[in-house]
């Protein structure tokens, strides 16, 4: 159909919005609440901010271009004086109910509201002195800070929390001027069903939802001469950190990242990938033992086994599937395995007392901040992992340290806990953990060399995937889900007997950890997430060793310290248990 936008004629397909049509003639209409989470197949389109309004001939009032479909012969003005005045007035209204502490706001510089104010040239806000602001109690959970004074009610977080993740921690509450998005009874997130997946933070346009910032405490520890500060970096970080320094999505910056961490002053720079290999040893052994028992006819065996690397997922099943607490693998996540080994084995080796050893992790994730605070992962109150920084915080720290990231030479991780195989690297992508487990489990199960290394049937972006891998005559059925909403679908399917699976991998975030809540914001852009995944698969392909059990330092760790997988010592340090956190109990 044909229409006219700003005096330009254009043909568009039926079903095109005015916003998209305008884009086709080179006009980008400013907007705020709208967010297309195409990677998640979800559109947040409340049409409520009213910034993207345009004038349509014959229409009484202005139309929100994001939610108005083109019609034949439509005449649209995107920037008439009437539109400009309305847009600016509405923006001023939003600003009149927004704190003006932009200087110290965690979102400063990346805030969509601030960007709009700059774009629209707002220099003063025409509203009366002492205009009332809607203010709410601050809520600081271990992972996420809610400062709802800065909420613009775009509802993106509510959509993500309910529609994408089906967590249901957040809902629109109250009415009118005091309307806001909050947990039930405006309770703290910690008391709500929140899993700390951080996807709400990842889509928040303003400083209303931000992560708890641990960088000042890390810097303080680094400055303390009595402390030995070591750092571990999760696989997904290296695939996204470059974006914070202007590099295209999917640029691998492993070497630069190590160099930067060393320059910041960490005493040892290690890799969470090492612990990922360790995870495969333990989880793989657990999987095999359960499969063996099943094949021997043990009817009590819990299958499918569920991965337990993702702390948001762990929170999710503790909340929603209390009847299935003995189903997931008891293996701790790589972050926590790393911490446990660092504060025992490594501390011994380098001769540092536990309480003088500070373990920092760099994670694509906000739930990791919560995970490292869990009581199970403390010894006499001293946590195995002291601080978990997000990828965004690391980028901030690098900038603060005045490091020219792009010019850094590549550096290598320290031994022994910096060595890893390709299997560990792909932990950061959905399907990666199960693929890594398959590579090792196949060889341990069959006793044969696994010729196939790349299991393409386990990769991809589909929310719920199943595949069968032939373990030399024994078909092993595998399920994969990413995003908690898909996890719920898969789990409910298993419960209802629609799926018969041996092993399931679940990651809370879109695309796996690469799309984590602590990463540079992807805003639902599927291309960014896929590019990060591809970067991880590239690094995997380049590694000389690509199966976890082949990691020589892992072998050494078992020989010198742990004995064998699932040994009592391994159980003590590398496994955990789960709690019923449902509201039913």
């Amino acid at each position: 159909m044909q229409l006219t936008i700003d005096n330009k004629r254009i043909d568009v397909a039926v079903g095109t919005t005015v916003y998209d049509a305008a884009k086709q003639v080179g006009v980008t209409i400013p907007r705020l609440c709208y967010l297309n989470l195409e990677a998640l197949g979800i559109e947040n389109k409340p049409a409520s901010c009213r910034i993207c309004v345009v004038e349509i001939e014959g229409r009484r009032n202005l139309a929100p271009s994001c939610a108005t479909l083109c019609t034949e012969g439509m005449t649209v003005k995107t920037s008439s004086p009437r539109v400009l005045n309305a847009r600016k007035t509405v923006l001023e209204l939003l600003l009149s109910d927004h704190p003006k502490d932009c200087l110290i706001c965690p979102k400063s510089g990346r805030c969509e509201l601030q960007n709009l104010a700059i774009r629209m040239g707002v220099r003063e806000i025409h509203s009366i002195e002492n205009a009332e602001m809607s203010t709410y109690r601050k809520d600081q959970s271990p992972s996420i800070i809610r400062n709802m004074d800065k909420c613009v009610l775009c509802r993106r977080c509510e959509t993500v929390c309910n529609t994408v993740q089906t967590v249901g921690a957040l809902s629109g509450v109250n009415r009118g001027f005091m309307a806001v998005v909050a947990p039930a009874f405006e309770q703290d997130l910690q008391d709500s069903p929140c899993t700390f997946c951080g996807q709400c933070v990842a889509v928040c346009p303003t400083g209303a939802l931000t992560e708890v910032d641990h960088t000042p405490r890390v810097v303080r520890a680094l400055a303390d001469p009595t402390k030995t500060v070591i750092v571990q970096t999760a696989p997904a970080v290296r695939a996204a950190l470059g974006e914070a320094f202007g590099m295209p999505a999917g640029t691998l910056v492993t070497g630069k990242m190590v160099a930067a961490l060393r320059q910041i002053g960490f005493d040892y720079v290690f890799d969470t990938d090492f612990a990922a290999d360790l995870t495969i040893m333990e989880e793989g052994a657990e999987l095999l033992s359960r499969i063996h028992r099943m094949l021997e006819g043990d009817s009590n065996v819990k299958l499918p086994i569920l991965t337990s690397c993702c702390p948001a997922w762990v929170n999710f099943f503790e909340q929603n599937y209390p009847d299935m607490l003995d189903v997931p693998s008891t293996a701790r996540s790589p972050q926590q395995m790393f911490g446990a080994i660092a504060k025992t084995y490594l501390a011994d080796r380098i001769g540092v007392r536990r309480d003088n050893l500070i373990v920092v992790s760099i994670m694509p994730c906000l739930a990791k901040k919560y995970e490292c605070r869990r009581d199970e992962f403390k010894v006499d109150g001293n946590p195995d992992v002291d601080y978990a920084l997000s990828t965004r915080e690391l980028a901030q720290l690098i900038k603060e340290a005045n490091i020219d990231f792009n010019a850094l030479p590549d550096d290598n991780f320290d031994a022994p806990m910096g060595e890893s195989t390709g299997a560990a690297v792909i932990f950061g992508a959905t399907g990666g953990v199960i693929e890594a487990a398959t590579r090792t489990a196949y060889e341990l199960f069959t006793g044969k060399k696994c010729r196939q290394i790349d299991f393409h049937e386990l990769r991809g972006m589909e929310g719920v995937r199943t595949a069968s891998v032939d373990f030399d005559g024994t078909p092993i059925h595998i399920g994969i889900a990413h995003q908690l909403g898909n996890a719920r679908k898969l789990l409910d399917g298993v419960r209802a007997g629609r799926y018969h699976l041996h092993a399931i991998e679940i990651m809370a975030c879109p695309g796996g950890c690469v799309g984590g809540g602590g990463q540079p914001l992807h805003m639902g852009n599927a291309q960014i997430i896929c590019a990060r995944q591809q970067a991880l698969y590239r690094e995997d392909a380049q590694k000389p060793l690509r199966k976890s059990h082949e990691n020589p330092y892992i072998q050494q760790l078992y020989n010198e310290f742990l004995g064998r997988p699932l040994s009592p010592k391994a159980h003590h340090l590398l496994h955990t248990r789960y709690f019923d956190k449902s509201t039913n109990n």
Partner: protein, 597 residues
């Protein structure tokens, strides 16, 4: 049984009393006594006849003779001629201005034809909890006619021909609305009756539901047949327990008679009706919000399109009509669309029910043909302004409407004229205001309402209305500044232009219409720091007239903030910036020396 053969009714309304109707009563009684007729005719003072313009009024029963402009001196002649000799006093008879002939019988006076009850036809006439009385008054006959004589399409044609427009506020043609819902394909469609009457000061729908619930059920059945729906839902305010009760009774009775359920009247048409309750949210009168509320969710409106006719309750085509709209439907089929279209004005057919309230003598529910003037409604039917005060404005359309003033008194009331005058029909509340009402405060009152009732979804309504309210509040507190009026105007225009739903798009109307019609009042508040109506407490000034003050010190002793100074036996004065305007001094002064300005 009667001992009196004749009754002389004398209007005892405020207007007539002001023109000596009490004296007329007295003189009539004297005259009757003098003629020895005290036992034959009785003189009674009545409530207002609502015809104050021609008052005082005397009506003689049983022959319904209607005398206007009666003076106490006329009492003797009325008794001598009419009561004694049975001859009407021609001179005092009401003269119809159109026909210039005296009307002897009040039934033939234009005034009594001003109100015609269609939607309210059974209210106050039948027992609403008895379906038999409804049936005796042709109840469910329209349904029977439609089911046996019309195809859905033909029936919708009838509604279209009647010219009926939605009475809920928007004025959308009802037949067209039905047709849209009819043409949608779906496994299930819904008929929804919007009984979430929320305009403060409007109670038409409540009265219909309480007085004639079956008419709504019948209309929903007809609508269901027309659009192809088998389920009806009434969304009703929880604040209306009696209406809910009567609807429940009516539904039960209709089911017992087989008028709801399967195969109604053997026509193979199934239909049933359930109730859904509102829970105190004005915005749920907006149809998309209403639908979300019926689904058990927060009543936040959604962008249209899609319209409910395409995707409504549970994603199915849904036709939403207001109570009063539905109440007209059975009559249209019984009396014919042409009859209905013969009532009213060019663009607005039929009648409209108004809830007259505020500073008016005859607060009440009236139903008048579209096209009647405000003057007729307020001064004739409504009996004029209470306590003989001066008419200032009438607010129509509730929080979405505006204030109409003296210059609009002769404008015929219909959808289009009210819109052109900066107000709207709304659901039919009419609040009359007199000289004591401050129009800035009235605008503030409505904005406070909107701020309270805004759902908070879209920014212009959530924040913009709050800012409008704050500006108005600032003005009524006497802190107004020169450009506040421009600010109000711009903000109002933008909110109208950008708000998501009907609530926000109309919420600035009370501001704009008072700015247009009472600009001088705003100016008085802002520039002179005065409230001409004397309503804004912050702008009241108490002062002492030195010539009247005796220096008794009563005021000073009773001033809680020591704002009054002066020597004993000398004139006192009030320190304005200390005064908290409590009014205590005014009460205590025995010498009428304290004034408020």
């Amino acid at each position: 049984m009667s001992t009196f053969k004749m009754h002389l009714l004398v209007c005892g309304g405020t207007g007539c009393r002001a023109s000596q109707s009490a004296m007329i009563v007295e003189r009539l009684r004297e005259a009757l006594a003098a003629s020895g007729l005290s036992g034959d005719a009785q003189v009674v003072a009545t409530g207002c006849f609502g015809f104050c313009e021609q008052g005082p009024i005397v009506k003689v029963m049983p022959d319904n003779t209607f005398y206007t402009n009666v003076t106490p001196d006329d009492a003797a002649i009325i008794v001598a001629e009419h009561v004694l000799k049975g001859r009407k006093v021609e001179r005092l008879l009401y003269t119809d201005p159109q026909h210039k002939t005296p009307a002897s019988d009040s039934k033939h006076m234009g005034f009594y034809r001003k109100q015609i009850r269609i939607a309210l036809r059974n209210c106050g006439f039948i027992d609403p909890e008895n379906i038999d009385e409804y049936i005796a008054r042709d109840g469910y006959a329209a349904l029977g006619k439609v089911l046996s004589e019309y195809t859905p399409q033909e029936a919708i044609e009838v509604v279209k021909r009647s010219g009926l427009r939605g009475r809920g506020g928007g004025g959308f043609p009802t037949g067209t609305k039905w047709d849209i819902a009819r043409t949608r394909r779906s496994d299930q469609k819904y008929v929804v009756c919007n009984a979430d009457e929320g305009d403060p000061g409007a109670f038409m729908d409540r009265s219909i539901l309480e007085g004639d619930p079956h008419s709504i059920l019948e209309a929903m059945l007809i609508c269901g047949y027309c659009i192809g729906a088998t389920k009806g839902l009434v969304y009703i305010r929880a604040e209306y327990p009696l209406a809910i009760h009567r609807l429940q009774v009516a539904i039960t009775q209709a089911r017992e008679y087989g008028l709801l359920g399967a195969d109604i009247m053997g026509a193979g048409f199934d239909f049933d009706i359930e109730l859904r309750y509102g829970a105190g949210a004005f915005v749920c009168g907006e149809e998309t919000a209403l639908i979300r509320s019926m689904e058990g969710r927060r009543g936040e409106p959604t962008v249209k399109p899609p319209f409910p006719a395409e995707s409504g309750y549970r994603g199915r085509p849904t036709n939403v009509n207001n109570v009063e709209t539905l109440a007209n439907i059975p009559v249209i089929f019984l009396k014919g669309p042409e009859w209905f279209a013969g009532i009213g004005s060019t663009g607005s057919k039929g009648t409209k029910v108004f809830a007259l309230a505020g500073k008016i003598n005859n607060v009440g529910l009236i139903e008048v043909p579209m096209g009647i003037t405000l003057r007729e409604v307020i001064f004739e039917i409504g009996g004029g302004i209470k306590d003989g005060k001066r008419f200032k404005a009438v607010q129509t359309g509730g929080p979405s409407g505006g204030c109409l003033t003296e210059k609009h008194l002769d404008t015929p009331i219909d959808f289009d004229n009210l819109l052109a005058a900066g107000s709207m029909m709304g659901s039919g509340g009419m609040i009359v205001m007199d000289e004591d009402d401050c129009m800035v405060s009235i605008a503030k009152f409505y904005l406070e309402f909107t701020v309270d009732e805004s759902c908070g979804k879209c920014a212009p309504c959530r924040i913009g209305n709050k800012r409008l309210y704050e500006l108005l509040r600032k003005i009524t507190l006497g802190h107004g500044e020169a450009d506040d009026m421009d600010c109000l105007r711009n903000l109002s225009a933008v909110i109208k232009d950008t708000a998501l739903c009907g609530l926000g798009q109309t919420s600035p109307n009370p501001v704009l219409s008072t700015l247009d019609n009472f600009r001088s009042e705003y100016e008085a508040h802002i520039f002179d720091r005065k409230c001409p109506a004397g309503q804004c407490k912050a702008l009241k000034h108490y002062f002492i007239l030195p010539e009247k003050c005796t220096g008794c010190t009563a005021c000073a002793r009773n001033c809680s903030v020591n704002a009054i100074v002066g020597e004993r036996r000398q004139a006192h004065s009030i320190i304005q910036n200390k005064c908290i305007r409590c009014g205590a001094c005014l009460e205590k002064c025995k010498f009428d020396a304290i004034r408020v300005g």
